[in-house]
Symmetry: C2
Subunit: 383 residues, 2 copies
């Protein structure tokens, strides 16, 4: 975050032909993105690219979702055929859609628009032990970082996070508890729509996951940067393919030896492969100084992991929306991000992030195109 660009952006806002502060939250978005870009005004964040990270979850076996697990695979097919809501919303804003298989249970045939970076055929059941090994979590992080780099290389100037994974709100709730210290009951919601009995079971599953994985009782993850990997290293080395990158966090094999940071161990223990990949996608976007619009609770919980690994990444994030899932508000509050769209969406796929993109563009566009009081010959307010 460049304080000079922030100051310049604030001063520029106040010279524009509008009452000071009249654009409300959007003024702060423009200022934050200038700080993140290191230049005022920040570039207009277009075109945008949506990446939908798809994966399955061992915890599905606990009956936490009314949807069959194969819906993950079927929805990947729907995305590739252009038939999902995320496709319609992407068309609306001119965004590309890339589907990334980081852990779908079934083997998927190659297809245009599908990037196969499968780390595993779904996670293990997080209520019985770690969902992933640390190596798996790192592999998924790296996949996300690489997808970010590829999309930016192909011209994207804004990245939008998306997810598909039946049962992934359960993993999200567990991550939110682990990173914020919230109790399972406060962070767990109805996802795509479970009944009271299933919700009660889901809360119990999240609680058990935290206990089994040693993550209960307050935020198990210390303030980011305290003993995690060097944050500059992570942010500056998106490929993490050398000894200087984020890979230093993975010196120990298995479920996390002394060299794996608490953040990485928590992510591996109760996250999903798509959560880890989205965390990497955020790290990658931040390293390239491209804004990342976060979708809903899956992305929000992944962002907690990314921020724990490298706190500065939050400067590059915009909270696209706030979903109906209670844990999402907790995650955003922890990140210090205010959501732009609040329309009770609870779909995922990146839909909330896509909706926010024109708002973010409008906020930045003002800085490029609006006249100043001087240049337009408009009188200022009489003090």
């Amino acid at each position: 975050r460049d304080p000079g660009a922030v100051a310049e952006a604030r001063a520029h806002q106040d010279r524009l032909t509008k009452p000071r502060g009249a654009l409300g939250v959007l003024e702060e978005v423009a200022v934050r993105l200038a700080g993140a870009a290191g230049v005022s005004p920040a570039p207009v964040p277009a075109p945008a690219a949506l990446a939908i990270f798809a994966a399955d979850h061992g915890v599905h076996a606990q009956g936490v979702s009314p949807w069959p697990q194969e819906v993950t695979q079927q929805m990947v097919g729907n995305f590739l055929a252009g038939g999902a809501v995320a496709n319609a919303f992407a068309t609306q804003i001119g965004a590309t859609v890339t589907v990334v298989d980081v852990g779908v249970a079934a083997d998927l045939p190659a297809a245009p628009g599908l990037t196969i970076r499968k780390v595993a055929h779904g996670t293990a059941d997080l209520s019985l032990g770690p969902a992933m090994t640390v190596e798996q979590a790192v592999a998924a992080l790296e996949a996300g970082i690489e997808v970010a780099r590829e999309l930016v290389e192909r011209g994207a100037r804004c990245l939008i996070t998306g997810d598909m994974g039946i049962a992934n709100t359960t993993a999200s709730a567990a991550l939110i508890c682990a990173f914020t210290g919230q109790d399972a009951a406060g962070a767990t919601g109805r996802g795509t729509g479970v009944d009271d009995d299933t919700l009660a079971r889901k809360v119990e599953v999240v609680r058990r996951a935290l206990r089994v994985n040693g993550l209960e009782g307050g935020p198990a993850v210390p303030a980011a940067g305290a003993d995690g990997p060097d944050r500059e290293g992570v942010v500056a080395a998106p490929a993490a393919d050398g000894p200087d990158g984020g890979s230093e966090a993975v010196a120990a094999p298995g479920t996390g030896g002394p060299e794996a940071s608490p953040a990485l161990r928590a992510l591996a223990a109760v996250g999903g492969l798509e959560h880890a990949a989205i965390a990497g996608f955020i790290l990658g976007g931040a390293a390239l100084r491209v804004p990342v619009i976060l979708d809903g609770v899956i992305s929000g919980s992944a962002a907690l992991a990314a921020a724990a690994l490298a706190p500065d990444v939050v400067d590059h994030c915009v909270a696209g929306h706030r979903s109906a899932e209670p844990g999402h508000a907790l995650a955003l509050a922890h990140l210090g991000l205010r959501p732009l769209v609040e329309l009770e969406l609870r779909l995922g796929e990146g839909t909330g992030g896509l909706l926010a993109h024109p708002l973010v563009c409008a906020a930045v566009r003002v800085m490029h195109e609006v006249a100043t009081f001087d240049s337009a010959g408009v009188s200022e307010k009489e003090v």
Copy 2:
């Protein structure tokens, strides 16, 4: 509002490849617009056209705004030069911008993008008596209706309301009190940013305006349609240029004889010329079955007048945003509209309506482009 189209839209929503209700407020937007259009799905509401109705206010003399009155005229110049926030936001969504002089105090030279329909050189001071004669209010209504018709003839499939008029939040507050029965203190806000003393004066001015014009003590305007002009007549005859149109409400000259409806008399007494024109713009859009996205408190108070004249027009309206002005929330609640964007904007010009346009398009686009569970071969939720 076509109940068949509403039912068909709801049923279609539930067949789409997403959990039921997962698009939250946007599902209701798509359903409402289908009902308004009389067909499901409703046409995607694009391209959009913004009309900024500009006028001045006699009440400016009471010291209710820190901005000099000539800023109205100067900002018209800024709009025409493309330098205002509304221009930047319009570019973002591909909307045209039309500025309509319905009552700017100064005489404006002809210019591309400027429609001159000046009814008066500003209103009279509403705190001393009626701001407009009923004839003036009707002339402004007709100007708004005609602008709507012209924009739709030129290809617009969505109309966005905009305003420019220094001191117009004072008139808006008075209209909101007149149409909802709210007390002046509850409906009056800081507009573009007045200090405590000015706010107190503004509240007193609004209170005096209601008293002087016989509009105090509860909603002076009865339920719309009770004794106003025949609503089908108003909605079906946007030009109001014959004996069958809305002009029947204007049989009496002056400030409102027995033939002028209470709604029209209230609009003339405490409204602005831009409020009356925006009310007409809404009536015109509704008559042509084109959705109208409402901007902030000026548009919201104008919509109260439009709805009092012809209640069905509300079906064609979408509340673009909720501004920081307290009266706006009251107006929207009275209209039964939920705003799409809530980002503490307090600028006017149509900026909040422009920001909402991509959200409205996205809501409708889903109905056209998203696959059903059957067509996509996606399994449904197990009950």
